[in-house]
């Protein structure tokens, strides 16, 4: 027994003189502030290094909150380096705001922790639910648009806003079914949610387009009914077209270019809401970074063309 321990004490007698006690100096961090009213792109892990090396000329970046809930490793470190140069928004997909399950405390704590760490200018989540009795589907499931569901969403959004001490934005989702028990339209539901909770809106124009096609409503009228000052961000993405029961149904895939109809909706939205931070989202079949940057520049040039025509 003594023999190995003697060796151990000999070991630290040997290492102790070679000490590195260089002090760590922390510098105050200055980070880009609010999100400018121009186009940004969704930040995906495979582009971390490209963004640091190429420094693309996009106005801002949006990261999925859950991808940075981790405590250590390269991902949060890379985001910190990127954050030093770009305004940032954090976009959650997993809070399951509309579920009747109680809010996942751990999820909220993680969100609070990364909001403190990365200081995003905007924090957003979805108008959807995703769990029953602690069993998660990890999808954005549709809510019925009833007074009961509205009261529930208002309570939940208020709870999150009070917890984080800031406003959050709520995004409309693509949907593939509607409920017979809904007593109001989605725009009415969102407008009431904004009024009663004080949240902002993240308007996803592709989602409006997809749902409008799937349920047969007019996307332009939807946009016209959104409360103007509440719209603080716009999402643009691609979708796919599938056959279902002999009919075409659009599925929100975020896996391709923004379609021309959605670009047309973008022009309408800009005319109604003015310049709003606009995000290019791409989550499946993610292309090389320049493809996303080009799509963002297209959004910028559409806005500039509109302004030039108005001047």
């Amino acid at each position: 027994m003594l023999c190995p321990l003697e060796r151990a004490s000999a070991w630290w007698a040997e290492v102790s003189p070679r000490l590195d006690v260089s002090e760590r100096v922390t510098m105050p961090v200055v980070r880009p502030g609010p999100i400018p009213a121009v186009a940004g792109i969704g930040l995906r892990a495979q582009h971390h290094h490209d963004i640091l090396e190429q420094r693309p000329t996009v106005g801002w970046l949006e990261a999925h909150s859950e991808n940075y809930f981790v405590l250590g490793g390269s991902q949060p470190r890379l985001l910190e380096r990127i954050r030093a140069d770009y305004p940032l928004s954090l976009h959650g997909v997993g809070l399951s705001l509309g579920s009747v399950d109680s809010l996942d405390r751990r999820h909220l704590e993680n969100l609070e922790r990364i909001v403190e760490r990365f200081e995003p200018a905007l924090v957003s989540e979805h108008l959807s639910w995703g769990s029953v009795s602690g069993r998660y589907f990890n999808d954005l499931l549709p809510l019925p648009y009833t007074v009961e569901a509205l009261d529930h969403m208002v309570r939940r959004v208020t709870q999150v806003q009070e917890y984080l001490g800031r406003q959050i934005l709520i995004e409309n989702v693509s949907s593939y079914l509607e409920f017979t028990c809904s007593s109001m339209s989605e725009p009415e539901f969102l407008a009431s949610l904004v009024e009663q909770s004080g949240c902002g809106l993240l308007l996803d124009l592709n989602n409006i387009y997809v749902s409008a096609h799937n349920h047969g409503f007019d996307a332009r009228q939807y946009i016209a009914r959104m409360p103007r000052p509440a719209v603080r961000e716009i999402h643009l993405a691609g979708h796919s077209r599938n056959r279902c029961g002999g009919r075409d149904i659009l599925i929100d895939t975020h896996g391709t270019h923004v379609c021309s109809d959605v670009w047309a909706l973008y022009a309408i939205a800009i005319q109604r809401f003015g310049d709003v931070p606009t995000l290019i989202e791409w989550d499946t079949d993610i292309p090389e970074l320049p493809v996303l940057v080009e799509e963002a520049h297209k959004a910028d040039s559409i806005r500039e063309t509109l302004h030039a025509a108005a001047a």
Binding site: P4, L5, H215
Partner: protein, 261 residues
């Protein structure tokens, strides 16, 4: 009129049990029946789960093939549904599932491969920790060294298997030799999985060394851990050498003094 709790319950039942069930009458048909609409959601939930699982267990997927992996994943999802809105947690219980399902079969090594892969996932995202403060360590009186309780870095995992699990893992890396013939009965392996300089590293450990680190991670004193390791050593266990190696590799990062016995 369904209230929100009942509606969500009925909707989730339709997703789980592959039938429209009681939610049917509450879905607007509008040219496509409820079953078709629900199928889209069921499919989305499955694909999201599957994609997360595939990202966490690439070696297992290579071993069993994409089709069987998919089947296995969906059966696992029925038994152990996602416990969180954060998809990164879905693989947590796959080793347990595989152990229950294949533990007594010739595929008993699946669970160990899965344990190793999950350990890789965990170390990549585990917390940071500063290096061992050697000056503080040097201040410990030599006669107290037996009471030292060392602390392993949060991004360290120790995996032991009765199968050559590290060889299996290596052969099934993208650049590995997948045609390599392996005798599963050639004996077990002990693996140290750690994140070092932001990269994941796997290395084989001798049995005594594994026992030593396992005892330390269980909070045992240096004296007790050294005895545990020495019991498994064929000749003698060189604790000075082991400490030097594990400190310089950033495996051991802290210590406190345990109680006198």
């Amino acid at each position: 009129m369904l209230l929100l709790p009942e509606l969500q319950k009925a909707f989730s039942a339709a997703l789980l049990f592959e039938e429209t069930g009681t939610i049917g009458p509450y879905v607007v048909q509008n040219g496509i029946e409820a079953a078709g609409r629900l199928r889209i959601y069921r499919n989305n939930a499955r694909e999201n789960f599957l994609a997360a699982l595939r990202a966490s267990f690439p070696v297992l997927e290579r071993l069993v093939g994409a089709d069987y992996f998919r089947q296995l994943a969906l059966q696992y999802m029925q038994r152990f549904p996602s416990p969180s809105g954060n998809l990164h947690h879905v693989g947590e219980r796959l080793p347990t599932y595989l152990q229950r399902r294949f533990g007594h079969t010739e595929y008993a090594y699946f669970q160990d491969v899965a344990r190793l892969e999950w350990a890789c996932q965990e170390v990549l995202v585990a917390d940071e920790y500063p290096e061992l403060d050697l000056q503080r360590l040097a201040a410990v009186e030599p006669e107290e060294c037996g009471r030292l309780c060392f602390v392993l870095h949060p991004a360290v995992r120790l995996i032991a298997s009765p199968f050559p699990v590290l060889q299996i893992w290596s052969a099934n890396q993208p650049d590995g030799d997948i045609d390599q013939v392996m005798d599963l009965r050639q004996g077990g392996e002990q693996v140290l999985v750690q994140r070092a300089r932001e990269k994941m590293e796997l290395s084989g450990l001798s049995e005594p060394d594994f026992a030593f680190l396992t005892a330390i991670s269980a909070g045992e004193t240096l004296a007790a851990a050294t005895m545990t390791a020495a019991d498994r050593a064929a000749t003698e266990f060189d604790v000075g050498h082991a400490l030097r190696r594990h400190v310089s590799a950033g495996v051991i990062v802290d210590f406190h003094l345990g109680a006198n016995r």
